[in-house]
């Protein structure tokens, strides 16, 4: 122990020294301090448990020409965006590859912060990608990012509580009410805190009700009957007493943990597929009985909001060719398969869904040691099905404003008054589209 400790301390001291040195020069662009031999490609990306392994693999491929460094962004999407936006607004050359939520591409592209993908890079980035996710990487018919992973929320349930999943919200509410009366776990968990997750929930409900919030081109506000029906449903669920008491604090993580908890009182969880891998270690007992189905809708399965991440190259990057190359590696079919199996994030390349080779094709498949999509990602079919019938969030430069306003107006969901909330939303969104209004 003693020796490792000294080693650790040495590292700390060296780092402190390097930090002082760099900080004293006081310029983000200066690389003179502690000059590394090779070129660094900085990837700013959300925390993803095994993403470092992906980076390591790509570094090996780069063979010393450059080193990809994982710069972890905050966990919440707003924090991620805020940090990148602020650096880009200041023209920071340290950013090479940006991990962008699917809703940010238009904004970043319009602000001229992204390098366009052209030529061979472009065709590589588009090859075999599902149309829905690819759409999120484009703006004004140009490609500004390579899709890394897509995402759709599914309904997760415990087969011991409900052998058959509900297909619609109506069924789910009735089942939950019955379960509550029977003294069984009954809660319906979904994201409803005042943040993007509430917008995702609402957008799914609106799309499932066949409604529209914005016009197809994203330029004007519609807020039709479907949108109002979704408001009614959201209010009904939130005030039904069938949700977690801290519903208005529920982000993905709270939802996931509430379902995983040993004494969980929940029957249904609406969340991204990453929860499948997370629950395996957090609550193996419940994991054994975890089942999934398509997100419930109004008359049938729901039309879910597409999430996910795209990788873009910063317009201020000093190493664009290498950054494009590295980004392509990080989202290559093999790495997408790895991320799906290890971190539960759905691939954007269609062929990965049917790839039945284990992680290490040279060795025999083994659920624990050498898993394949079939053993570790059994919900792949459901995901593909959902993706083929999904709702894309409006592609618009001011998405952030729309999202901020929407989550503000809808919070807390139990206080929604469908008609007046719809008016408020219509008014707020119109101003937000023009980017003239005030953000709450």
């Amino acid at each position: 122990m003693g020796s490792t400790r000294t080693g650790g301390r040495g590292v700390v001291r060296w780092r402190a020294l390097a930090a002082t040195c760099a900080a004293l020069v006081a310029s983000p662009a200066v690389a003179a301090c502690g000059s590394d031999s090779g070129m660094q490609i900085n990837v700013y990306y959300a925390p993803e448990q095994n993403f470092q392994t992906v980076i390591d693999a790509c570094n090996e491929r780069a063979n010393g020409r450059y080193e990809i460094v994982y710069r972890k962004l905050p966990r919440d999407a707003d924090g991620q965006r805020e940090q990148m936006v602020r650096r880009l607004a200041a023209g920071d050359t340290d950013l090479d590859i940006l991990g962008l939520d699917v809703t940010w591409v238009p904004e970043f592209a319009e602000a001229e912060w992204l390098a366009e993908w052209t030529g061979e890079n472009k065709s590589d980035a588009e090859a075999g990608v599902l149309e829905g996710p690819l759409e999120t990487a484009r703006w004004n018919d140009r490609l500004y990012a390579a899709t890394k992973n897509t995402n759709v929320q599914l309904l997760w349930y415990d087969e011991r509580v409900t052998p058959e999943p509900p297909e619609t919200w109506r069924e789910m509410i009735d089942m939950a009410r019955q379960l509550k009366a029977d003294g069984e776990p009954y809660e319906i968990l979904f994201t409803a805190a005042q943040y993007e997750g509430l917008v995702v929930t609402y957008n799914t409900l609106v799309a499932s009700a066949g409604g529209l919030i914005l016009s197809e081109d994203g330029k004007s506000v519609v807020m039709d009957e479907g949108a109002i029906e979704a408001l009614e449903l959201l209010k009904e669920v939130a005030s039904s007493g069938l949700t977690d008491p801290s519903l208005t604090n529920a982000q993905e993580q709270q939802v996931q943990q509430a379902f995983e908890a040993p004494d969980s009182n929940s029957a249904f969880e609406l969340n991204w597929p990453y929860v499948y891998s997370a629950i395996q270690t957090a609550n193996p007992e419940r994991a054994a009985h975890l089942k999934w189905a398509r997100y419930p809708g109004i008359d049938g399965p729901g039309k879910v909001t597409v999430g996910g991440y795209n990788l873009a190259v910063s317009a201020y990057s000093q190493h664009k060719p290498e950054a494009f190359e590295a980004a392509l590696c990080l989202r290559s079919p093999d790495q997408q398969k790895f991320s799906a199996i290890k971190d539960g994030v759905p691939p954007t390349i269609e062929s990965v869904y049917t790839d039945d080779r284990p992680l290490d094709p040279s060795k025999p498949e083994d659920a624990a040691e050498n898993p394949s999509m079939a053993t570790a990602y059994p919900m792949r079919e459901t995901i593909l099905e959902s993706l083929q019938d999904a709702a894309v969030r409006p592609l618009t430069v001011v998405y952030q404003n729309l999202s901020t306003i929407t989550s503000k107006v809808l919070s807390p969901p139990q206080d929604i008054d469908p008609r007046s909330t719809a008016d408020e939303l219509r008014d707020g969104l119109q101003k937000a589209l023009e980017s003239k209004g005030v953000l709450p």
């Binding site: 780092r15 002082t20 760099a22 900080a23 983000p28 925390p47 905050p74 607004a89 200041a90 340290d94």
Partner: protein, 280 residues
């Protein structure tokens, strides 16, 4: 004269109870952070005030990441430099205000008071834009400059209050011996003023150490982000783990200097805070 009557022992007991209440008031939030910083990751959510299992893991974690170490270096460096400059400039100005007659003195006092009351957020937008254009956004000078500015009124007030207590006859004596005002300032007054300057330096340091709004608005990377700003960017070990423990450990680390100041210089800080406040 006693506000609370009764026998001496009775009063002592009552005062002791009051004292205990005050100590509890001041320390409970600090102890809670301390406790969180020693909790293991699994017991973070047990909602108990004291840790059931103790660990140093959170401290090991923060000191093994560049994120925190660098922010700490930034915090210390930026606060020290800003304090130094603010105290030097403040001393010069306070001396002039306390001792010399010159035009524009009232204006200076008025302006610095305005700044002391100024809503800092009003400056964030123009400073953000200006620093971007000047290329000092997200650099040490980019933070040091606003810190000096907002620390200067504090420094000037505290110092001029101290300076008025100094026996200025000594200066006169020095002048009679043929010293110029500048010499008198340097040789006679400066040494006498040292304790006041020191106290002011502590107050200014605390002020700079404390800032959050500028730190979060005018920085964007590890190059200049200070600990208060870095705290809110901490990520957990994975996306499934909240950074409660590491945030608390970092919070404890940046509270240490404050505790040291308070323990060793309580009298000075109290004197500094009250001296300028109500005279005359």
């Amino acid at each position: 004269m006693a506000v609370i009557g009764g026998s001496t022992t009775g009063r002592k007991v009552r005062w002791t109870i009051v004292d205990i209440a005050i100590v509890a008031y001041a320390l409970i939030p600090v102890l809670w952070t301390l406790s969180l910083s020693f909790k293991t990751a699994e017991s973070q959510t047990d909602k108990k005030f004291f840790p059931s299992e103790w660990t140093f893991q959170n401290y090991r974690d923060i000191f093994s990441t560049n994120e925190f170490v660098r922010a700490l270096v930034n915090s210390i460096g930026i606060a020290l430099i800003a304090t130094l400059i603010a105290v030097v400039l403040g001393t010069m100005a306070a001396y002039a205000i306390a001792r010399l007659d010159f035009p524009g003195k009232q204006v200076l006092v008025g302006v610095s008071l305005l700044i002391a009351m100024f809503p800092q957020v009003s400056l964030v937008s123009p400073l953000f834009e200006m620093e971007r254009q000047l290329g000092i956004f997200d650099t040490w000078p980019g933070l040091i400059l606003p810190y000096i500015t907002f620390a200067l009124p504090l420094a000037i007030y505290t110092l001029s209050a101290f300076f008025r207590e100094i026996p200025w006859e000594l200066e006169k004596a020095a002048k009679m011996d043929g010293a110029t005002p500048a010499q008198a300032f340097r040789r006679v007054i400066a040494p006498l003023a040292a304790p006041g300057v020191f106290t002011t330096a502590i107050l200014v340091f605390i002020f700079c150490w404390n800032d959050f709004l500028f730190a979060i608005s005018l920085t964007s990377t590890e190059a200049s982000r200070t600990v208060p700003a870095a705290l809110s960017f901490f990520t957990g070990a994975s996306q499934f783990e909240a950074p409660t423990g590491t945030i608390s450990a970092a919070a404890v680390v940046i509270t240490i200097p404050i505790i040291v100041f308070v323990l060793f210089f309580q009298r000075r800080i109290v004197a500094g805070l009250t001296s300028g406040a109500v005279k005359g």
